[in-house]
Symmetry: C2
Subunit: 213 residues, 2 copies
């Protein structure tokens, strides 16, 4: 628990990448993988793979490599994705619908179990997943039965903070924020932001400075 502080976020991100490649390797029938190969597949260097895994224990056999299935299970345990997670989403526009239909979420144990919007035209509509879009005003009340672990925000920027406040008020401590607004939450709440335009800024910065466009 204490050592968590020292583990860089980049390591966690890479563990997530390793996990995907290990799944693909298993799918392709591989039983073992060397750190060199795993590194190459993930586009990092082998020392990085060993260092990242080293934070969490001793894995693999020196000179031989890792057992694909075993390492995959260990990494999933570290990332806490060896279980199911229940998600609620607020803002059922194009992006919201895209996420609700995203096949990779349920495949990885992330299940949308409730959807909310403020638009009277949307409220009451039944989604492909089998549940109806609820009034966002009912979020707190609804959450008593829903046991949501994670709140997903896909509202426009203007509605993001109010939505975050609703999630927190409903006892949800983990938020995935897709809106371009920065949200402010109590310290005990965890937020991950996915801002598409920030990625574009990084891309253009590199285009200018690395390619010289």
């Amino acid at each position: 628990m204490e050592r968590t502080e020292k583990i860089p976020k980049a390591t966690i991100t890479r563990l997530s990448l390793y996990c995907r490649q290990l799944e693909l390797l298993e799918f392709d029938g591989y039983r073992m993988v060397s750190s060199e190969k795993l590194a190459r597949l993930c586009q990092v260097n082998p020392a990085q793979v060993r260092k990242d895994l080293g934070y969490f224990g001793e894995f693999g056999i020196r000179g031989v490599g890792y057992e694909v299935k075993e390492l995959q299970e260990e990494v999933k345990k570290i990332l806490a994705i060896n279980r199911e997670w229940r998600m609620g989403i607020v803002g059922i526009g194009n992006l919201g619908v895209a996420l609700l239909r995203h096949e990779n979420f349920p495949a990885r144990g992330f299940h949308f179990i409730a959807a909310f919007d403020s638009d009277p035209d949307k409220i009451g509509r039944t989604l492909r997943l089998g549940f109806v879009i609820r009034d966002v005003n009912e979020l707190k009340e609804a959450s008593k039965d829903l046991e949501m672990d994670i709140g997903v925000i896909t509202t426009p920027a203007a509605g993001a903070q109010a939505t975050a406040d609703r999630f927190i008020d409903a006892g949800i401590n983990a938020i995935l924020n897709f809106s371009p607004a920065q949200i402010h939450v109590p310290e005990y709440c965890i937020v991950e932001n996915i801002d598409f335009t920030i990625k574009l800024d990084i891309l253009t910065y590199k285009l200018k400075n690395e390619i010289g466009i």
Copy 2:
């Protein structure tokens, strides 16, 4: 140009955040902002703001702060977002449509100018933006006139690498990849990945290790 190597990606990401807050400050009528206030708005510490900006020159007046509009322009120049960028997108599913309609892109100078898909039912359909969805097989030919700067991939994972290859073949050196697949590109090509499930893995890792769920 040379110093680019030393600038951490996290600095570039934060510059993008500073830029957003500076825009909001300007919108709210502020002419000056202290590094303390800018830092608070961006949820970082003031020393970090000064350090990040320090990579690129001397900004602001000691003890007074930064001119909101001037700093905003400087940061935009650094990030190369003081100009328009032309984007092509492949994969016009829910996510593709969500991005095509995303208001923040054009507002920040990122313009979709072409859309491609492989689905005969989609090819030829006119988008709200005023252009039709083209056959992805025509990407290279079409790109001769389009002057695309950035290629956006919103295909399923299985189609991501082929799409990246098409973009590169068409002379596009910057790719924003929304598919959950890792794509391999020549060294001169820049890729930024937006994988929603990786963010969820980070969130669940933190939920387990910081909150203890």
